[in-house]
């Protein structure tokens, strides 16, 4: 059986759904083929929208740095003990994507009736010691252009803003505009919105091959059909390398496991999202508090470990003491699509026409979904992307043997 679609998106996580949505919205004939796999990052995500936080190495970055320090090593190409900072190209992309959420949430509500639970929480980096304090000072100094988004809080001000947070603090650095969303609902709404705009969704179906004429990609194969296409988009998350290989493209994406502890439903306990050197905490719309995370290279193994759960729990109790009494509802893990420089891999590949990348989003798939979706829809329509994607092209990995590689935990 064969059919034709202008665009075929491979992968139905948040990125694939976003691409399908924006492409369908601009009138392209889109088919999304999705095979949800255990460990899919979208389903495991805490849903933080932290452009500043992720760019400066907060959230998972600062936790990872602390564990690396303890283990005697350093994080990505930076001074020992300091979390890696991502380049300005990433910060710009992330801020731009974050700015799209207000309109997107409204549009999705119109298109699908679904509420993606976008919340303006801000992100508080809690300063436990002088190390944290000097790191925060470094951010303040280096991000002069974004200073309007940053705010220092004294311990008394933290106590007033967040009564549940521990008093044992040097203070906090607040990141305004770093908010949160419900990642499941976002992905569901994007998928439903894509469908509402005419996209075809083929769920629970594995892509078994990619058809090429010479080097050009002309179709995507599944067990029972071939879908001919003008362009395919690789949005296969942690599995992007496998899909890339079918198209003759070498994608350096590897799974990076992150574990999460989720509490039972609680009444309003936290106002902001919290980031500490032990963990981050986000209280979701439903009332559960999500505590994350780890950075592990465990292949495609999405098991959870007692050690990680214990360590995250300890971090949570340190930050919010009353959580000691609260029940853990679930522990889970997700496989982030990791790229060698922690930046996404977007756009065309030289010498492989008909193929576009939308992968390697590592820690920031949810945050960067809207702009990724928009940019890829533009590229799929044969237009230039309205945001610079040169920093994210796959070609940056070719012919550069000195590229930094993620330190292995």
């Amino acid at each position: 059986m064969s059919r034709h679609s202008t665009v075929v998106v491979v992968g139905g996580g948040v990125i694939g759904c976003a691409v399908a949505y924006y492409a369908a919205r601009r009138g392209l004939d889109v088919t999304l083929v999705d095979m949800p796999k255990r460990g899919r990052a979208t389903s495991a995500s805490a849903g933080g929208l932290w452009p500043m936080g992720e760019s400066v190495g907060l959230g998972c970055g600062v936790i990872f740095a602390k564990t690396q320090l303890a283990a005697g090593g350093g994080a990505v190409g930076h001074a020992t003990g300091e979390p890696g900072r991502l380049p300005v190209s990433f910060l710009d992309f992330a801020l731009q994507s974050r700015a799209m959420f207000g309109d997107l949430a409204e549009q999705l509500r119109e298109d699908t009736g679904m509420d993606v639970e976008l919340e303006h929480t801000s992100l508080l980096f809690l300063l436990y010691d002088s190390g944290d304090e000097s790191y925060a000072q470094g951010l303040w100094n280096d991000y002069a252009d974004q200073r309007s988004l940053l705010q220092w809080l004294t311990p008394a001000e933290v106590a007033e803003a967040e009564p549940a947070v521990t008093r044992r603090l040097y203070g906090a650095l607040q990141f305004h505009g770093d908010d949160q969303i419900n990642p499941y609902k976002l992905a569901d709404a994007l998928r439903a919105g894509a469908r509402a705009h005419g996209a075809t969704i083929i769920p629970h179906t594995e892509v078994t091959g990619i058809v090429r004429h010479g080097a050009r990609v002309v179709g995507v194969q599944t067990a029972d059909r071939t879908i001919e296409c003008d362009v395919m988009v690789n949005a296969a998350g942690a599995w992007a390398a496998q899909i890339g290989q079918m198209a003759g493209v070498d994608i350096p994406v590897t799974p990076v496991r992150g574990q999460i502890v989720c509490t039972e439903t609680l009444p309003e306990t936290l106002n902001a999202c919290l980031s500490t050197s032990d963990c981050y905490l986000a209280q979701k719309h439903h009332g559960e508090i999500i505590i994350g995370s780890t950075t592990e290279h465990a292949g495609f193994d999405s098991a959870t470990t007692a050690a990680a759960a214990g360590s995250l729990a300890a971090g949570a109790v340190r930050a919010v003491p009353q959580l000691a009494q609260v029940r853990v509802k679930r522990v889970w893990s997700g496989l982030r699509p990791g790229s060698p420089d922690e930046l996404p891999i977007l756009g065309p590949v030289e010498d492989v026409p008909g193929y576009l990348n939308a992968c390697g989003h590592f820690r920031t798939g949810i945050l960067n979904a809207p702009l990724t979706g928009l940019a890829l829809a533009e590229l799929a329509a044969g237009e230039p992307a309205s945001t610079p994607i040169e920093p994210f092209l796959l070609s940056r990995f070719q012919g550069s043997p000195s590229r930094t590689v993620l330190a292995h935990a």
């Binding site: 521990t166 044992r168 439903t265 109790v317 000691a324 029940r327």
Partner: protein
């Protein structure tokens, strides 16, 4: 009504059976603010049932009342707030003198904000509170 009426006994309420056993000491509980009598050895669920209270919690999404279902600690329907701690399985937990129980009526099914549950509300940065140790224990 059929059945062995002789086996029932009035102990402030008629649901406790007399035949076959004798109970231990009475204990006093506070359930949703009301004083309730129970007996040592009884589970919280049994004590509340004997007092005519079957609803043990309200569900988070729809606010439906739920009570004991499986009775063996596997279904988590009977979770109530006991002495400020949420998620306590009423069917497995024995009553204790002075126990405070919340069944989620009027939104009170959550840990008390002012319970002595480890909130160092008045502690300052120099206070000797080991915040990372969990409930009452040392690492």
């Amino acid at each position: 009504m059929q059945g062995d009426r002789r086996c029932r006994v009035t102990v402030g309420n008629e649901r406790r059976l007399a035949g076959g056993i004798s109970r231990g000491r009475r204990v006093g509980l506070v359930v949703d603010g009301d004083a309730v009598t129970a007996f040592e050895g009884e589970s919280v669920a049994a004590a509340l049932l004997a007092a005519g209270r079957r609803g043990l919690r309200a569900t988070p999404r729809r606010g439906d009342r739920r009570g004991m279902y499986c009775g063996i600690g596997l279904c988590f329907e009977c979770v109530t707030v006991v002495d400020g701690q949420s998620g306590v399985r009423a069917c497995l937990t024995p009553v204790r003198e002075g126990m405070r129980i919340g069944t989620g009526q009027d939104g009170r099914g959550y840990p008390d904000a002012d319970a002595d549950a480890g909130v160092d509300a008045d502690a300052d940065a120099g206070a000797d509170v080991d915040a990372g140790a969990g409930r009452g224990g040392a690492r």
